[in-house]
């Protein structure tokens, strides 16, 4: 049985790894009730820790699916997504992630797979932490401090992530990142659906 939802999630995870750098590796699996898919990224430089560890991104299984030969993406709400580190249930350290692991998303639309994948990349690289996001948007948790303190800590962590994983330069420019992600996604899903 072809499991398209899992294949598409793997494609998405592969694109994240492609941009973040190949020192990061990805596996994907289902939650025990089968309702969610979990992307597990290994080799991530965890905040406040010397060693590298795991980061998890969980989202509904129905986010990516294939029907009658077409690939569909169901835009998800922030409450349906979770970011964890070390182990499931442990909040990912980021100013815009709540204690229970769900992200505080900005108002930008997340209508396309490209948006979702680019958002994962920006979250893992902390590129979505800006002066405005911490002062106007406010922090979802104080795990990195609040306001400008959070920004400083996030920027320090960001530098560490970009350098240690050797992320692609396009990661810093949203337009270029989106373009790249979009092309890779379209290319892969074309091959995937044609191979069926």
């Amino acid at each position: 049985m072809r499991d398209y939802s899992m294949d598409l999630a793997k494609v998405a995870a592969a694109i994240v790894v492609d941009v973040m750098g190949s020192d990061l590796t990805a596996t994907t699996h289902y939650s025990s009730d089968g309702n969610n898919i979990i992307m597990e990224f290994n080799g991530y430089p965890l905040y406040g820790q010397r060693q590298k560890g795991k980061v998890f991104v969980q989202f509904p299984r129905s986010t990516f699916y294939v029907r009658k030969g077409n690939v569909y993406f169901t835009p998800l709400q922030q409450s349906q997504c979770r970011y964890y580190q070390d182990q499931m249930g442990n909040q990912f350290v980021h100013p815009h992630i709540y204690n229970d692991g769900h992200p505080c998303w900005d108002g930008s639309s997340r209508e396309r797979p490209t948006d979702f994948i680019a958002n994962i990349i920006e979250t893992l690289s902390l590129l979505n932490v800006t002066k405005d996001s911490v002062t106007v948007g406010l922090c979802a948790s104080g795990i990195m401090g609040v306001k400008l303190e959070a920004l400083e800590n996030a920027q320090r962590q960001q530098k560490r992530v970009l350098e240690s994983l050797k992320c692609k330069p396009i990661i810093k420019e949203r337009r270029k990142l989106e373009n790249y992600v979009s092309k890779r996604w379209c290319n892969k899903i074309t091959i995937l659906t044609q191979a069926a």
């Binding site: 592969a14 190949s22 270029k176 044609q194 191979a195």
Partner: protein, 114 residues
């Protein structure tokens, strides 16, 4: 030349390839050297058997070079890579930047149909 072969679902494998070979030849050699790793490229066993006999569904299969902007350049399965101008040009660009080229590869079998 050192390249990365990537499956559709993102499994990556590093290979040394000969650009004077066609993609079909490159993949056949890959399978002969390391069947376990190479089998991840194929949709099923029939696709493997057919390729080893020199057959494949070229429309449904893919051997595509990814450029810096994420665009893909589709290769012809039966022509040596060095004889395909678009591929050759892009490979030089990538090498000049000190990067390792990535090919996304997927092989599907020919099935009876109409």
């Amino acid at each position: 030349m050192k390249v990365t072969i990537e499956t559709v679902t993102g499994v990556t494998m590093n290979r040394e390839i000969d650009t004077s070979e066609s993609p079909m030849g490159i993949i056949r050699k890959f399978y002969e050297d390391d069947a376990t790793a190479a089998s991840q490229i194929f949709s099923n066993q029939r696709a493997i058997d057919q390729l080893m006999e020199g057959n494949m569904d070229e429309a449904k299969s893919a051997f595509e070079l990814i450029n810096v902007e994420g665009e893909s350049i589709r290769a012809n399965w039966r022509e040596p890579l060095c004889n395909q101008p678009a591929i050759k040009e892009e490979l030089s660009k990538i090498e000049a930047e000190g990067q390792i080229p990535t090919f996304v590869v997927s092989v599907s079998s020919i099935v009876a149909g109409y």
